[in-house]
């Protein structure tokens, strides 16, 4: 990656190793250089955000959150992220296995840019890479 474009910082809040693998696969398929920070539960995500606010950790460009994670749920993580002075305005992609309209509405009400329902075909899952590129573009532009 050395001389290529600066990698995209992703904060992924996801407790399923299989889905973490698929998110990585999607990013690689999309061919976007990325650096992934993983929080396996809501509490871990809060700590990452605290470090980001304390500027001991680089701010993510995109936040990917599964709503259904242990300890603190994805909604709480979203609310915390929105209060962050450092990364309060970054794009958020909610990743969920739920297709309930209520969950979708709740995510958008908290300012999620996208709601990605975990699909059951490989091709559809790989679309996540394209979505990350799409939401990250303005952020990248401003970063350049």
């Amino acid at each position: 990656m050395g001389d290529g474009p600066a990698p995209l910082n992703l904060l992924l809040v996801e407790d399923s190793p299989a889905d973490v693998f698929l998110v990585r696969e999607a990013m690689e398929t999309e061919g976007l250089p990325f650096r992934l920070v993983l929080a396996e539960d809501g509490e871990a995500a809060m700590q990452v955000l605290n470090r980001v606010d304390a500027e001991t950790e680089p701010a993510p460009h995109v936040l990917l959150v599964d709503l259904n994670v242990p300890r603190r749920d994805g909604i709480q993580v979203l609310e915390r992220a929105r209060r962050s002075p450092v990364c309060g305005g970054i794009p958020v992609i909610v990743i969920s296995s739920s297709d309930s309209p209520a969950d979708r509405q709740r995510a958008f009400a908290l300012g999620a840019s996208e709601y990605f329902r975990k699909p059951s075909t490989l091709d559809e899952f790989m679309q996540l890479g394209r979505i990350v590129r799409m939401v990250a573009c303005p952020a990248k532009t401003s970063a350049v």
């Binding site: 399923s16 698929l22 296995s97 739920s98 699909p119 059951s120 075909t121 490989l122």
Partner: protein, 519 residues
């Protein structure tokens, strides 16, 4: 002797012939004169002035003589009666009875029976006729005594009514208590006595029936005030503690007893014992709560199960595909085909779980209390969902103007989605022709989706609405066998029904009823 006999016979003949004005008889106090007038007069006066009516009839029932009371009873002029048939003044229904009375009097010499006379005003007058045959040598006639029974009947009616009222009050299933404005019990039914556990008449209502409503005492004074204010009590729930320590649950109703406007005699209080009902209600309420909880648990379980099962399944499918893709060279064609089977199976199971979830949620009521959905809009939406399939199969869809229905939109979408989907799926060789129609049927709408597809044999027409019921293998007609079960569950939620009219090989017409909405 012969001469004396002949003289006596001559005397009798002369009397019969009316030639004798007086008879002189030798008595112990010398000769006494008996005139016909002196013998007849008292009787005539008696007959003329007696309280009862009396008439003399010839053998055919013609009135030869009537006293003034008879004419007065009928309300006609005294002299208008003589010469008429008595039948004329009788109620038509009593004609036969009168003929029988005349016949009996002819045979036995007397008879008696109750009939109705028709007065000049047309009102029936109940009377008792007492007939006596008067038999003289040259004239056979019948004397009839006519006794007015109106007073008697009236008294009897009053007595019966009084008896009935007493019986009603005594035997009323409810406790009925009549109190005066001071709260003293005047009358009570047997049930009220039982409720109070002893005799209560002339006792204070408040002492005998200590009623409590929502923790406050309900006194006779409260009840009187309520009914006086034109506010009759209706089914007020109260409790009453008994000396034995138990408590009765009662429904209290009360209405005023007015003698004249503004003069309250008291009030009638009805106490309905609902203790058993209340006890049953509590049991029923507990059971209903338990059932609701158990239903909710079951629904939650089914929801979680189908939802959570989908997660690993989804990953199974995606990772199988990933293996297929990443190791295509190593797997070769055969290995790739085997993996594909696994992927297909996972997808089928996922669809099954998805449909099961839809089935569980089918009868759940959305928030809206009285829904209103235009079926035309719904069919339009559903057809838009099937746009690709319609184009691909060359299907022709005809949709009549549909009504506005009193159902939730999500339910109507599911119904048409399943039925139109089935019509497109279970097609014959010909291009699908689908007709959506509606017609009013009593107090609901009957809607139908008719197709020209493969149809359903008579044996299976009920079975297809069951859960997981499929008539075909997964080859040509794939499906989870839940769609029609969902449709049935939805219409049943509205107390309506769904059925199919079909013949194998000749298309199917799915009909369902739904309540109308407000257009």
């Amino acid at each position: 002797m012969r001469a004396r006999l002949e003289q006596a016979e001559e005397t009798i003949r002369a009397i019969h012939a009316g030639e004798v004005d007086a008879v002189v008889v030798e008595g112990p106090r010398g000769p006494q004169v008996y005139t016909l007038q002196s013998a007849d007069h008292p009787y005539r006066v008696l007959v003329e002035r007696m309280h009862e009516g009396t008439v003399t009839l010839d053998k055919d029932g013609l009135i030869l003589y009537s006293n003034p009371q008879f004419a007065a009873l009928l309300g006609v002029a005294g002299d208008s009666v003589t010469g008429s048939s008595l039948q004329k003044y009788l109620d038509r229904a009593d004609g036969k009875l009168f003929a029988e009375l005349m016949e009996a009097a002819g045979i036995r010499g007397y008879s008696s029976g109750d009939v109705s006379l028709c007065s000049a005003e047309g009102a029936p007058i109940p009377v008792r006729l007492s007939l006596t045959t008067l038999d003289t040598d040259d004239l056979k006639c019948v004397s009839v005594l006519v006794t007015d029974l109106r007073e008697l009947v009236r008294n009897e009616a009053i007595m019966k009514e009084e008896q009935l009222s007493r019986l009603i009050l005594d035997q009323a299933g409810e406790g009925v208590v009549v109190i005066d404005p001071e709260g003293i019990i005047l009358r009570r039914s047997e049930s009220a006595k039982t409720l109070a556990g002893g005799s209560v008449t002339l006792d204070q209502f408040d002492r005998v029936f200590p009623l409590m409503v929502s923790g406050k005492r309900l006194s006779a004074r409260d009840i009187i005030a309520a009914v006086r204010g034109d506010e009759p009590l209706r089914g007020l729930e109260a409790s009453m503690a008994h000396a034995e320590g138990n408590t009765s649950a009662l429904l209290v109703s009360a209405s005023p007893l007015w003698s004249r406007p503004n003069e309250l005699l008291g009030c009638v209080i009805t106490l309905t014992d609902i203790t058993d009902l209340k006890r049953a209600e509590v049991v029923l309420f507990r059971q209903a709560q338990e059932l609701a909880r158990s239903n909710s648990d079951l629904r939650q379980f089914a929801y979680s199960a189908s939802h959570d099962l989908r997660e690993p399944l989804r990953q199974l499918a995606v990772f199988s595909e990933l293996i297929q893709k990443k190791f295509a060279a190593e797997l070769g064609e055969e290995g790739g085909g085997l993996i594909q089977h696994a992927v297909d199976a996972a997808h089928r199971m996922e669809k099954l779980l998805q449909d099961l979830l839809a089935y569980i949620q089918a009868a759940d009521a959305p928030q809206q209390a009285s829904p209103n959905t235009d079926a035309n809009d719904v069919v339009r939406k559903v057809l838009a969902n099937f746009e690709a399939r319609i184009a691909e199969t060359g299907a022709r869809i005809q949709c009549d103007t549909l009504p506005v229905l009193g159902v939730h939109e999500v339910h109507l979408v599911q119904l048409f989605q399943n039925l139109i989907g089935n019509a497109l799926k279970y097609r014959s060789e010909a291009a699908p022709e689908i007709h959506v129609a509606a017609e009013p049927a009593q107090d609901v709408w009957k809607l139908s989706v008719r197709d020209n597809g493969i149809g359903i044999g008579a044996d299976y027409q009920k079975q297809i609405f069951g859960l997981f019921q499929r008539l075909h293998g997964g080859g040509r007609y794939s499906g989870s066998g839940i769609g029609l079960a969902i449709c049935q569950k939805i219409v049943q939620r509205y107390d309506c029904k769904i059925w199919v009219e079909s013949e194998l090989g000749h298309g199917a017409k799915f009909c369902f009823t739904l309540p109308g909405g407000q257009s």
